[in-house]
Symmetry: C2
Subunit: 406 residues, 2 copies
């Protein structure tokens, strides 16, 4: 099996990189802390005797050159960037477990038919630059390197310049290799496995993701002197949209979800009616038709609101990914490996976006989930028990060993 | 009459101080631009031969020492701080017209029975430090100087330190004199005079103002993996409150108003359910009982929301002023002066808070309003025609001349 103690210790060590004065983990893509995290990961890759390759979008790969050098490699991986005030497992678990799997096979002189690679993809979270899963999207050819490097962050920075600044603008072309198969291990980040007492999720599909930024323009005016009937209040209009998206997905009764995670008013002054409200809408559904319907309902509502309230509404698409169906055979291997470990296993859907959904464009791919305590993620309370983390990594090990014999 | 051309020219000159790179007027209390504006105003006071007194809260007074030196003075005034992205008339009009009135009387060697003072009160807008009308409130003894100096701004600055930094921490005790009467000339900042074709408002009362900051705490979680039914979304709760306050005052059908002018989500990330939403509520009503009822309805709604949605709600009072009734005799003098100038005049209520409401605690006070184009204020489009500005200043001149004979 893999070295469980080292896996847990490394997760904790990496999880300390990027703490602010209040102890909050903020290792967002390409900030100083993420540079430090990348450095630590690269040092571990070298310690394991792997070749390190950095591509032009900053994806980091550790390559075990073994078996037939011309055979398509097995690829494992995830990401090491975080959200703001994050937990320590999201992404890092899949990356560090992938490294442990390679290390275990290498130490036991396992005879793989093909190279094995572990990757850490750039800007998976999409917190600083959109779209999310950017590094794997570029790797899979879904976005040009140049477009990605030109992305402007919410802080006004340019991705390509930040990448150069932290020293991770590599020279290798993304997609330099097409994997034979891609397997990503991740915490569930949701409540399903824990609630149903299941130890391993064999992720067979991943819901579609629609991200928009909505800007509503009204008229700034004095909060004391302007009669209610004469207002054109952008903040009130925004509040109605926020309530609408929630009510809509709840009424639709599908497994779809809707979230308004960011907002800003302008001028944002206590006694001034907001002239502008800007906010984001994150819509998801495993069913593309239902996701399209939710987008259409929102667009329709915005149109009616503009007419009724006299506000102007502009929408900007930040990201749009269709639902993905993973490889059935690899899913089957995951189920089989879990059962051989006497672990309960269930086929399931991923609510979160993952690098696997991008790499699935170029090779068979699937994911392995382990339970998240209280279903909490993107929160410092994110937690999975060490024995569950180790169990998930050993399932990955067995799946890789099986694939490496092909 | 007063020097109308100079009044307009000075309003425009002062209105250029505090423009940012985008041309937005941001002369909020005690920032560098406001320091510059204060300097310009003081230079004009000196040019008019007035004694300049700065008190401990930074109120600036220009005193024409005339008549009986022991008689209580007539006080005119308003403020020169602005909101963010402001117009040029709010506050400055009353201050500069007051100065023109004194200058006109002085040049014509008018024999006043008592001194005449024009004041510019500190931090009237309440944008940077709460409460608003702070300088006049301190002057009237409603807030201790020390408490006011200790106020912490939304930008983390301490008012007293900023006052010292810009060189306006005076030595005179606020309230160093109790005025015989206070008259404040101001733009209406609302739509009433224009809509009804009235040239002058004799302001007989001013509505009560209730400012609160509301903080709602929920639970941050992943926007993709967390089923709608398992969320504790602080942003959704905030949206419901924002809608509620508007619906409530509209349903109540009074002349009350409700505004949510500021908001922030935490962590404010596109794919994270907000763990916290913070926003302000500005409630106003000319009737204290109705204002209390609106506050109670909001408190009740927040309690129900906490129970229903599982969020925690905290409220903080930022400012609370009861409705004020101005002096009937001074109002009558304003009406009389307006009629003598062949100007249409109407008794009315002020929707905005003004320094006059604070000074009314210590002496008879009233206000004169002139129309605001389209009822717009706290907005760069704030506008009043020059002839209306001059007409208002001449009404003030006549009212003062009458009071100065007493
Ligand atoms: N796994 C994960 O949190 N990815 C971020 C993209 C998303 O919002 O789903
Ligand atoms: N006149 C004015 O805009 N005062 C600011 C205080 C208020 O919000 O009414």
């Amino acid at each position: 099996g893999i070295d469980g103690n080292r896996l847990i210790a490394r997760l904790r060590e990496l999880g300390e990189i990027g703490r602010d004065a209040d102890g909050r983990l903020i290792r967002v893509a390409l900030n100083d802390a993420e540079k430090q995290g990348r450095g630590l990961f690269v040092s571990w890759l070298k310690q394991a005797g792997l070749d390190v390759v950095i591509d032009r979008i900053g994806n980091i790969f550790g390559i075990w050159r073994t078996g037939d050098p011309d055979a398509a490699p097995i690829m494992l991986g995830s990401h090491i960037d975080t959200v703001v005030n994050a937990g320590i497992y999201d992404g890092c678990y899949g990356v560090l477990a992938g490294l442990e799997v390679i290390d275990a096979l290498k130490c036991h002189a396992f005879e793989s038919s093909r190279p094995i690679i572990v990757g850490a993809f750039t800007n998976e979270e999409g917190v600083r630059y959109v779209p999310d899963m950017m590094g794997s999207l570029v790797f899979a050819g879904g976005l040009s390197v140049d477009a990605a490097l030109a992305a402007v962050g919410h802080d006004g920075t340019v991705l390509g310049r930040e990448l150069a600044r932290i020293g991770y603008a590599g020279e290798t072309e993304p997609g330099f290799v097409t994997p034979h198969v891609y397997v990503e291990l991740h915490i569930e980040q949701g409540p399903v496995l824990e609630r149903d007492g299941i130890q391993i999720g064999a992720v067979e599909n991943l819901q579609g993701i629609s991200w928009q930024r909505i800007t509503i323009d009204g008229t700034a005016n004095h909060a004391g002197t302007t009669p209610m009937a004469m207002r054109c209040d952008a903040g009130q209009a925004a509040a109605r949209v926020i309530t609408f998206v929630k009510d809509h997905v709840e009424r639709a009764g599908t497994s779809g979800v809707a979230t308004v995670g960011t907002i800003a008013f302008h001028p944002n002054v206590i006694n001034v009616i907001p002239s502008r409200a800007t906010f984001t809408v994150d819509l998801r559904d495993p069913d593309e038709a239902k996701l399209k319907a939710a987008e259409a309902a929102l667009a329709d509502y915005l149109g009616r609101l503009a007419a009724e309230m006299g506000v102007r509404v502009a929408t900007e698409r930040l990201a749009r990914f269709e639902p993905v169906v993973f490889d059935a055979r690899v899913c089957g291997l995951i189920e089989q490996a879990a059962r051989e470990h006497q672990l309960s296993v269930r086929r399931m859907t991923s609510g979160a976006g993952h690098d696997a959904q991008m790499i699935a464009r170029i090779c068979p791919a699937a994911m392995i989930f382990v339970p998240s305590r209280d279903g909490i993620s993107h929160n410092p309370r994110e937690h999975t028990e060490p024995d569950q983390l180790v169990a998930g990594a050993n399932v990955l090990l067995d799946v890789v060993a099986r694939l490496a014999r092909e």
